[in-house]
């Protein structure tokens, strides 16, 4: 088993290697890695051309994982995702042909372009790590990680992800544009290397990823930090701007992601800052705002940020309950 210290060192090496290909997105890379360590799937939401696919490919390479990509389209069928039984003429039997979901890192590109039926085909795979076809349940390889992308701008010909499916993503990240300096750096690197892609080196293996996940379980979380997490989740349910608050699954995800954040900060114990740093990507996609806020274009991220600024952090002195 990898110790938390070793995992922390490995995390740094992974992000450093990823940064060779993905310029100016260290925090995004850290968050995706935290999501992977916590055993979650990650939704990358932003405009085309911002490096979502590059991030997924780079992670697969650096973590030494099998990689598959599904381009979700309106005519994609569930069997195109999970696989289907086919008739084998040589053996005269029905043989199951696995779909692209049988991989370790799956890039579900533009997941909101496919109808709910096909989206739902991913639900079991994402939630249970298995696929049931023709009455048979087949385990997916471990680790199984879905990095999904969706385009938040176009609405025509898209199917918004249902809450149940959104809740299965550990975090939702928005990339945003690079700063002018980072964009120039990216162009300069492309010109210098005279090749389309960066040849990344694997830093770990699938077994290494699983060991890193196990070490996450050894990161300490004090009881008052758990209460802090519950206070944040409860605040999302009580806020006047929120129609549906975060689920208990959101609280579980927040704790695991905070542990991942602690590891990345070279600690084997969680502090309130770890929770705050991952709370918005962990919970914003799990809350449903009131319709009038959609009209005013208030985002869930903004509401979550505001909520975090109002929830009390654990007291300075644990012996003093009120005034720290």
């Amino acid at each position: 088993m990898t110790s938390p210290d070793e995992t922390a060192q490995l995390c740094k090496a992974i992000v450093d290697e990823l940064e060779r290909a993905v310029v100016g997105r260290r925090r995004t890379l850290e968050l995706v890695l935290i999501g992977i360590l916590a055993g979650h799937h990650v939704l990358l939401e932003d405009l085309p051309g911002l490096g979502k696919t590059l991030i997924a490919r780079s992670f697969a390479r650096v973590l030494g994982l099998d990689f598959a990509r599904i381009q979700f389209t309106p005519d994609l069928l569930p069997s195109d995702v999970v696989g289907a039984p086919l008739y084998d003429q040589r053996s005269a039997e029905m043989v199951f042909r696995p779909g692209p979901v049988f991989t370790q890192l799956l890039l579900a590109d533009e997941i909101n372009r496919t109808p709910p039926k096909t989206q739902a085909a991913l639900l079991e795979a994402m939630g249970e790590g298995q696929v049931s076809v023709d009455g048979l349940t087949r385990k997916l390889p471990e680790p199984f990680i879905v990095l999904a992308t969706d385009n938040p701008i176009e609405y025509e010909g898209t199917y918004e992800l249902p809450e149940a499916q959104l809740d299965r993503f550990g975090m939702r990240l928005r990339l945003g544009y690079l700063s002018a300096g980072d964009e120039t750096d990216m162009l300069r690197r492309r010109v210098d290397r005279a090749a389309e892609n960066v040849d990344l080196n694997p830093v770990t293996t699938p077994a290494g990823v699983l060991a890193m996940r196990e070490s996450l379980e050894r990161v300490e979380v004090t009881p008052d930090l758990l209460e802090y997490v519950v206070a944040i989740v409860t605040a999302t349910r009580r806020d006047a701007q929120v129609q549906i608050g975060a689920s208990p699954r959101g609280g579980l995800a927040l704790v695991q992601l905070a542990r991942g954040q602690a590891l990345l900060s070279q600690r084997d114990y969680v502090v309130p800052d770890d929770i705050k740093q991952v709370a918005v990507p962990a919970l914003a996609h799990r809350i449903t705002l009131r319709p009038e806020l959609w009209v005013r274009q208030v985002s869930a991220d903004e509401v979550m940020t505001k909520l975090l600024a109002s929830v009390a952090t654990p007291r300075t002195d644990p012996a003093r309950a009120v005034t720290g």
């Binding site: 701007q241 502090v271 309130p272 705050k276 009038e292 952090t313 002195d317």
Partner: protein
């Protein structure tokens, strides 16, 4: 907090006093005759004052507070009602004055001088023609005043409920309530290091002393702040320089949120950080005093 309660109750008390004064007609009792009588104007003026005070309070709250959509809509509605009320009262008052001047008694023709020797006969007094129609101005104004007072009381209760500290935290509440002297706070941390055997408790006490000293310097920790956020804020305000505060904060995190055994090394590190911090803060405090003495 108690002071704030008084401040909140002050407008309500003022409105009630003004309202009672208006109802009694004791505010500047004008003594002219006519359909307005004496207290019509007084009641009207009191109403205008009430509307103005409420409008100013609403506007101030609208600027200062960051409220939700519903609250903002309610405020806008309240402002509209107040504006309409103020205009309506002004119109009623002007209309009444106008009617008063329209319904002046008709001037009678000059009477011929009495003839000498003639015994004066008492003529029946000529009555002024009755006004065309009568508006119960005072009744209307009294009704409006009562309505305004009721609205003010309801609004005050609503505000008081909204502003009542909820079970949850408030951004402007601070953890460190007692703000002792800087030296005293740092000394309490040092004494904790000397007296408390447990390194963990000593480090926490040390950090607590730093937090108090920062509060003394005007950078208190908010309820939703983390120690690192407090440190960033203190740095941004120039209250903290150097690395001592960051080291002490890191040690505090370890002492507070981990169950590692903490040894004398960490305890010594906390003591050293506290000493450096105290020296830096004392130096910083001495600089303006020296500058003040020099001038």
């Amino acid at each position: 907090m108690k002071g704030q309660h008084w401040v909140r109750l002050l407008p309500l008390a003022l409105l009630i006093v003004l309202g009672l004064a208006g109802l009694r007609g004791t505010v500047g009792t004008p003594r002219w005759d006519g359909p307005l009588h004496r207290d019509g104007i007084a009641v009207g003026l009191v109403l205008e004052v009430v509307f103005a005070v409420l409008a100013v309070l609403t506007l101030r709250r609208q600027r200062s507070a960051q409220q939700g959509l519903v609250v903002r809509k309610l405020r806008m509605t309240l402002l509209s009602v107040l504006s309409v009320g103020a205009v309506a009262v002004a119109v009623v008052m002007l209309l009444s004055l106008k009617l008063h001047f329209l319904n002046r008694p008709v001037k009678l023709p000059p009477q011929p001088p009495p003839r000498p020797g003639a015994t004066p006969t008492r003529r029946p007094p000529v009555k002024a023609p009755a006004p065309l129609f009568h508006i119960p101005v005072a009744v209307l104004l009294y009704a409006l005043l009562v309505l305004a007072l009721l609205a003010a009381i309801a609004a005050s209760i609503w505000w008081a409920r909204r502003l009542r500290p909820s079970v949850g935290p408030r951004e402007d509440a601070f953890i460190v309530e007692d703000s002792g002297d800087l030296r005293e706070a740092v000394e309490s941390g040092r004494s904790a290091l000397r007296t408390v055997d447990d390194a963990r408790a000593a480090i926490i006490a040390c950090y607590l002393a730093m937090e108090r000293s920062l509060a003394d310097r005007g950078t208190a920790r908010g309820l939703a702040d983390t120690p690192d956020e407090l440190l960033s804020r203190a740095r941004a305000r120039g209250v903290v320089r150097g690395t001592a505060a960051a080291r002490l904060t890191a040690l505090f995190y370890e002492a507070r949120f981990s169950s590692h055994p903490l040894g004398p090394g960490q305890r010594d590190a906390a003591e050293q950080a506290l000493d450096e911090l105290a020296a830096a803060l004392a130096e910083e405090k001495a600089e303006p005093e020296a500058a003040g003495a020099g001038t």
